[in-house]
Amino acid sequence: MSARVATTLRVVQQRSILVLIGLLVALAALIEIIRPGAVNASWVSNILEFAAPLGILAAGQTLVVITGGIDLSVANVATAAAYIMASQVPHGVVRAIVLGLLVGVVVGMINGIGVAVFRVQPLIMTLAMGLVVTGSLNVYGQSDRARGVPVVPEVIHTLGSGTVLGYVPVSLFLWGALAVLLIVGLRGTGFGRLLYALGDNPEATRLAGVRGWQVLLANYTACGLLSAVAGLVLAGTVNAADLGLATILLLPSVAAVVIGGTSIFGGSGSYSGTFVGALILTVLNSVLTLLDVPDAVKQVLYGAIIVLLAAVYTRVLGRD
């Protein structure tokens, strides 16, 4: 009997992604119970559309967390990228998008230099860069260059909220492609394996002849770029770009990674977990919206459920 329980537990531990998918289905079932008929094709389409920006933001976060770091500037970068893109539209859409993405690359690179070369703790480095980004953005937002109302260009709007065949969100193609790239890349490429190695044991990695600082620099830059992409997609989804666009996505970006089973201490995890984690958090939001309670209560419940999920994950599945 107990041996069987132990075996089941081991299977569950090894296939934690199944537990996550089970949780996702359970939450969807909960919605169906609260409001019968709510779970249909357009609901699924909606969930995917709103999960995409979070999923892309959490992708960058996953890369950084696997190396044992954390990036608390992802939301600031996403906001800045979207706002700068939207305010530069009068000078040409392509130029605007490139500038938006450039924000992510530059901030990510500075984060990377701080963490990899100067050995600054990722938490402090990214927190400080978040301050710099938001401060600069506020100054920029009040300067003459951005006096015009920020406009979300048509192509970004389509990317963020367009659908193919009525139900398939356009952003899912981008998110899906990035997901495949990350899952395969983390598992199968040298760069991916180096990220796990650095997160697991930086000293051993160094002794094995790896130039860790180059890997970290590239990694934080990739995280910045992904954050910028997420910001652009989010601007398309809500069809607006203001100075606080992505602020609320900081906690979910970390929570999706943790719920997805990536250890915050680095060295283990995968993007497939984060992918489902982002979906779970989006469905959770949808459940809370259905509950018809004040926003403050929603906020409390959201935080409490994340604590609960993380706790269950850590204790039951024996992850650290």
Binding site: Q121, I124, L127, G135, L251, Q299, G303, I306, V307
Partner: protein, 332 residues
């Protein structure tokens, strides 16, 4: 051989160990020197700098100094609390709710209850971390949502109405124009911290922060010590929230948002190691004054105070990078 070994330790206490003193107090001293330089520069920029401006600075710095003290207590124990700001907001709105339309004696009693409630909220952060074993960053990010939500439930929008007598506890200057009450109130920090640090519990906080395994093997109760550190953090965060009430006279449910980040900035600038176990309260408090002085100086210079946040970020990056260079040089 044996005598040499015997005399060496005896000789040490006689002379002052300069290297160790510099290592231990050098950073704190440098922070105070930086503050002094900034003050001199401020007076040069604004020759009519007087008691009023100094009073304004102490008022602005008071909540941040408490926020920094809160974060320091927690970081010394090897943790971090990203919900300091929301805890301050909670204390702030609770105090408005409790004191609205009452006299000073009642307000003080209400403030004591608020201190207790928010201290418990802080301790709860620590307890959740210890019990669930989920990393502190994740838990306190999530509880930052919870406390901010609770603050919004207590008070939906900014509301004035903190009793004037209660406000005057911080806003006046009872002793001399150059010693405002807001400066005197800072002594709440050493009042709690100095006896604590000399006690077994305080030593345990440092021990757990510097080496958890060694502390465990020396018989320190890890769980209780960490919860204690978070409770002390909660207490100082509550003081910060009450300071907000006294200095602004308003209960603002979103008031704390900026203080979480600024508190981390202050402790980094104040020389507290984020790895835990190293640092004290003196540095972060001075850093809080520096961070509060920057926006004022920008205004005196006629520069958009929006640059303040940017400068704060750049300052932190520079400080930690200089620290990083030190670490790299020592290794090679």
């Amino acid at each position: 051989m044996a005598t040499a070994e015997a005399t060496a330790p005896a000789a040490r206490p006689a002379g002052v160990n300069v290297g160790r003193a510099v290592r231990r107090y050098g950073w704190t001293a440098a922070v105070y020197v930086l503050f002094a330089i900034l003050m001199v520069a401020t007076v040069v920029i604004k020759p009519d700098y007087g008691p009023f401006e100094w009073n304004t600075l102490t008022l602005a710095a008071l909540p941040l100094a408490f926020a920094a003290a809160a974060q320091t207590a927690i970081v010394l124990s090897g943790g971090i609390d990203l919900s300091i700001g929301p805890l301050m907001a909670l204390a702030n709105v609770l105090s408005l709710h409790a004191t609205l339309g009452h006299d000073l004696a009642y307000s003080l009693a209400a403030a004591a209850v608020v201190l207790l409630v928010v201290t418990i909220a802080g301790a709860l952060n620590g307890a959740i971390i210890v019990v669930t074993r989920v990393p502190d960053i994740v838990i306190t990010l999530a509880t930052s949502f919870i406390w901010a939500g609770v603050a919004l439930l207590v008070l939906a929008r900014p509301t004035p109405g903190i009793p004037l007598d209660f406000q005057n506890l911080a806003q006046g200057s009872a002793i001399s124009p150059w010693v405002p009450n807001a400066l005197v109130l800072l002594f709440v920090i050493p009042l709690l911290w100095v006896p604590l640090r000399r006690s077994r519990a305080g030593l345990s906080i440092y021990a757990v922060g510097s080496d958890r395994n060694a502390a465990f093997r020396s018989g320190v109760d890890l769980g209780w010590t960490r919860v204690l550190a978070y409770a002390v953090g909660g207490f100082f965060a509550a003081c910060g929230g009450l300071a907000l009430s006294m200095t602004t006279g308003v209960g603002t449910p979103l008031a704390g948002t900026l203080y979480t980040l600024s508190a981390v900035s202050a402790i980094v600038l104040g020389g507290v190691s984020l790895a835990g176990g190293r640092g004290g309260m003196l540095g972060p408090v001075a850093a809080a004054y520096i961070l509060s002085l920057i926006p004022a100086v920008l205004i005196y210079l006629g520069i958009d105070p929006n640059y303040g946040q940017m400068i704060q970020g750049v300052l932190i990056v520079l400080v930690v990078m200089i620290g990083g260079i030190g670490a790299v040089l020592r290794r090679t």
